[in-house]
Point group: C2
Chain length 339, copies 2
DNA sequence: ACATTTTTCGAAAACGATTAAGAAAGATAT
DNA sequence: ATATCTTTCTTAATCGTTTTCGAAAAATGT
């Protein structure tokens, strides 16, 4: 509210001196520095973000690009949790968060232009179609970027450890005696699904196992009815699986409903496992066996990496950061009666 | 990227003229206006937000204050959905969204100071403890504010119609023949709970009904185990209710688990109803009877109201906007065998 | 044709900060 | 004592806009 000029007058020095004092610059006397700082404290001075941003080209503002194709946006449980983790860490480091979109006033612009318009210091991208030309423009632009759950050459990314996730899930299921394991996976086009699927097959390979081709089905993430249909298909087989893995905890509900419709019990008649470790998974009965993704850790790592590349571009590596999840052994996977 | 100065040079006019042309000011010739506009289009000019904000004290930026006490933040399903609705409408009107927090750089400041620092044009407040001194400071400050699900004298607010919500839920349950209706409600201290509870009692009154005092219990919103305990208490009575209303769909799961633990069936043995109309409620089996709160409408109304008070403070009323929800008749409330 | 009004444009100040360059004062060296 | 170097501060330019005010040009009136 009080400007630097007023603060300077109050202290009987020039604005330049005030600026230097507040920013701990070198060419300033120790005594005046503390005098100015105390006055600033007393008068409740704080800088004007716009003026500073205009002059320094640093906004201490980070753009968030979250454009779910299903328009679920912030209601996407997983990404909302990641964003929350990101937000907490960024704010701790003095950065604010602004959503990036495709408009300036009433005019349509690209995401990149919007970033330039707001002069964000960096951008975190998640939950978008990465082949969108506007996203590509942003990835190849001159603004520091970190992506989440997607690998890109030009920038760092933070990834949930889907390989280890599926591996430990399979390990657990295998130890419970299951051999006839079906996997309903999400959209095959995504980085996430590719990792999980490869891990699935690699595990089978390592145990010299194999499953029928049509034990492996595709159903969109979070889509209950598709998961239900796939489950039905699996249960209709003459050799149905003893355990089914789902794309995520929500989609799993579709399977669970179908299972219950057939008067089968979980886990006595059939075992199921989800992915995500959502809130839902732990309040259901039976509690789900699932992989809890470390959402806040993912968000935090992304923020740390992004801010690091902003603050110290010369000494920050471009890298992929893998964040491990955690197996939650609920009650939805039982012992397989090995017959 | 290209500045006004360059654009002016390119057009052979002064920056003042460019500014006037782009902002559709009066003292500018029609022909030069379109010439400038076309050049701006061609060269991909867009304004610098910081410079504009500095000069005009308008940032076209709206602050969002979302400080859940449980630190669930963005993972709060209801408020995340409201925020998403808010975001969509605000962006449509050319405003961006920034989160408000308690820091500038590494220094702790109040929410109000943070708003001033970022020069936001307005603030939407939701999901906070409204008796927090910092929130009060913001409410009484000179920045336009809209609150969500909380009434305050100084500003407009948008409220979910909890009165009508409970009323239509009760109406439905009553028509199904239920008379022994228990209500597990959320924290009694909140505006939301007060409205619902009053509506509950008023409905009973209107039908000249009454229920035992301890049919009405308190359990925190979203708290599964508390809801479970309350449910257990209710079912242990010698005259248990035939229908139980829960604080929300999530808490209801606690009740559902307890009910199933006792080998009771929903809705045959007991009826239950939730609140929120969450995603969860419609994928469960049986589908829940619940009140869907019109989250995106609430967010949209809040954005419209806030932007209106920003743009036209003189002609915008301070008012409470009530947004109706919608009864979702699932399958969790059955006919009561009136004995 | 001259005065007056209206329209259209530009010069310059301002918003609140940062920063390069220079000036004044004090300290050190010769 | 003079020259040189440091330290500490100020002046002034700058970032990219908007906006006031005055000037020039065009339109209007008489």
């Amino acid at each position: 509210m009080i400007s630097m000029k007023e603060l300077a007058q109050h202290c009987g020095v020039s604005v330049a001196t005030v600026s230097k004092a507040l920013n701990d610059q070198s060419d300033i006397g120790e005594s005046t520095k503390i005098r100015v700082k105390q006055a600033a404290e007393k008068l409740g001075y704080f800088p004007n973000a716009a003026a500073r941003s205009l002059k320094t080209n640093r906004s201490y503002n980070i753009g968030v690009l979250f454009v779910d194709e299903a328009n679920s946006g912030l209601t996407h449980e997983y990404f909302a949790a990641v964003l929350e983790g990101f937000k907490v860490e960024a704010e701790k480091q003095g950065y604010d968060i602004t959503f990036i979109n495709g408009q300036i006033g009433k005019k349509k612009v690209s995401y990149y232009e919007h970033c330039k318009y707001r002069n964000v210091d960096g951008v975190v991208i998640a939950c978008v179609k990465f082949d969108n030309p506007e996203v590509v423009e942003l990835l190849n632009g001159d603004i520091p970027v970190v992506t989440i759950d997607h690998i890109n050459e030009n920038c760092s990314s933070v990834l949930s450890d889907n390989v280890k996730g599926i591996e430990s899930l399979m390990e657990y299921v295998y130890e419970k005696g299951h051999r006839k394991i079906a996997y309903i996976h999400g959209q095959a086009s995504t980085t996430v699904t590719k990792a999980r699927l490869t891990s699935f097959y690699r595990f089978l390979e390592s145990r010299e196992l194999s499953v029928p081709d049509d034990y492996v089905l595709e159903a969109d993430y979070l889509d209950v009815s598709q998961a239900m249909a796939c489950t039905s298909e699996l249960l209709d087989r003459k050799d149905p699986p003893t355990c089914i893995l789902y794309p995520d905890d929500t989609a799993l509900i579709g399977g669970l409903n179908e299972i219950r419709r057939r008067n089968l019990r979980v886990p006595d008649d059939i075992s199921i496992a989800g992915y995500d470790g959502s809130r839902l998974s732990q309040i259901l009965n039976p509690r789900l066996t699932t992989i809890r993704q470390a959402t806040s850790a993912i968000g935090m790592q992304a923020a740390k990496k992004l801010i690091s590349t902003i603050d110290k571009p010369k000494t920050t590596f471009t890298e992929q950061i893998i964040v491990e999840g955690e197996l939650i052994t609920g009650e939805s996977v039982g012992n397989a009666n090995i017959s």
